[in-house]
Amino acid sequence: MEMFLDYLWVFLVGGFVCMIGELLIITTNITSARILVTFVLVGVFLEAVGLFDYISDFAGAGINVPIIGFGASLAKGAISAVKSQGLLGIFTGGLTATAGGIAAAIIFAFIFALIFHSHTKK
């Protein structure tokens, strides 16, 4: 039962975040690149003010899978690196924490670009 409730929260929060994104698209006609940038900045902000972990505790993937989670990792990395390394952490923290995701996106994009061709839309 508890597990079901956890998953329900994941679904509801994740769906809600995505729906906000769609609402932004249809009301302001902004492109997907701007949507992604906006949500990354939201994530950075939530982590900076310390709210992200509260949401993450009950929403899990619902807030970590949306690109907000990516923004939060960037900020989290920067904050903890500043704590451990001082000034250098400002520069190294963000990308260190998100290196896995960025590298994965680059590597898979490269491999699949070599394998597949673009498809015409129908």
Partner: protein, 333 residues
């Protein structure tokens, strides 16, 4: 006179016309009129750009064949397309042993090339001139918008670029519908900045050309069996009707828009078709056949073009439009 409407004395004849389209277009409303429907968008080539070039070559060869001429009979080629530096036309022209004039009027290119070709023929300088225009959904999409695989939604006012090429042969001799008049259009910009709303950006230019044409030729909409704009789409053609009504001219049932009629409703193209190929393939298939049958006696063909580029748009420029009109009349026996 503000505009120059040219009345052709020798009235160049359109003695051959050919259209080639992609598979989606081949399922649309004009499917029975096209000469050739490709089985897939690549047309046996490696890239979409190469496919577009091959479509132009096929259309030109087809039009020459249908005119019952040989390639060596052709004096000059007037062609254009949507890609940067109109590469599709220029590269296709490599395959032919005659001179080439590249023209660019975005989606109005078909009328522009016929108007230019008609003056060349009418002046008596060239005997046989080929016109050709093409566009390709996949090449236009990545030049003007986003990669094909990007998972985004198309805004409700957007239109679908036609994959297709149309070509026709104009001649001093022979039999066929005659080009009798041409009205060249000014570039008109009423400050529309939404690049997804081409119809609204181009409608004012259609209005200006139409008004000038009626004034210069002393004709009214009732003098034509068909008044066809190119790719204003559903929204743009409604705007044009409104704009003309404001000026006291009512466009009736003889007005239609190639882009609006192009696809069936269930093909989900939102506001209809667009692109050079839209007006070109409809003109060189449906309209030409109706003129040859004598069902249409007099057609005013006036595709519009949006003269934008991504660079200009990103610098905050609005979208200028241009509209060229030609009058084609069926031949009298």
């Amino acid at each position: 006179m503000k505009y120059d409407t040219v009345k052709f004395k020798r009235q160049p004849k359109i003695i051959g016309a050919y259209s080639i389209v992609g598979p989606k277009e081949g399922e649309g409303n004009f499917k029975d009129y096209f000469d050739y429907i490709m089985k897939n968008d690549l047309f046996g080539e490696k890239t979409f750009e190469k496919a577009e070039r091959k479509m132009i070559e096929t259309a030109i060869t087809g039009a020459i064949q249908k005119a019952k001429l040989k390639v060596s009979d052709i004096n000059i080629l007037v062609a254009g397309d949507l890609l940067n530096q109109i590469i599709s036309s220029s590269y296709a022209a490599r395959a032919f042993d005659f001179p080439y004039l590249g023209v660019y009027g975005a989606c109005s290119t078909m009328a522009e090339s016929i108007a230019v070709a008609s003056t060349l023929v009418d002046g008596g300088y060239f005997e046989n001139v080929v016109c050709c225009t093409a566009s390709h959904f996949s090449t236009a999409e990545r030049q003007y918008r986003f990669p094909l695989e990007l998972g985004n939604q198309r805004p409700p006012a957007s239109q679908w670029t036609v994959t297709g090429a149309g070509s026709c042969v104009l001649s001093q001799k022979g039999k066929g519908p005659r080009v009798t008049m041409a009205t060249f259009g000014k570039v008109i910009d009423w400050g529309i900045t939404d690049v997804n709303n081409m119809g609204a950006a181009m409608a004012p230019s259609a209005m200006e050309t139409l008004l000038a044409h009626f004034e210069n030729t002393k004709t009214t909409p009732d003098d034509y069996d068909l008044i066809a704009t190119g790719d204003l789409g559903k929204l743009g053609s409604e705007i044009l009707i409104d704009l003309m009504e404001d000026k006291g001219i009512k466009l009736g049932l003889n007005y239609s828009d190639c882009g609006q009629m192009y696809f069936r409703r269930d093909q989900k193209t939102l506001c209809g078709a667009s692109g050079c190929g839209c007006a070109a393939t409809v003109f060189n298939s449906y309209i030409m056949k109706k003129l040859q049958d004598g069902q249409y006696k007099r057609v005013l063909f006036m595709p519009t073009g949006a003269l934008l580029s991504t660079t200009a748009t990103q610098q905050g420029e609005s979208v200028p439009g241009v509209c060229h009109a030609i009058v084609v009349e069926s031949y009298e026996d």
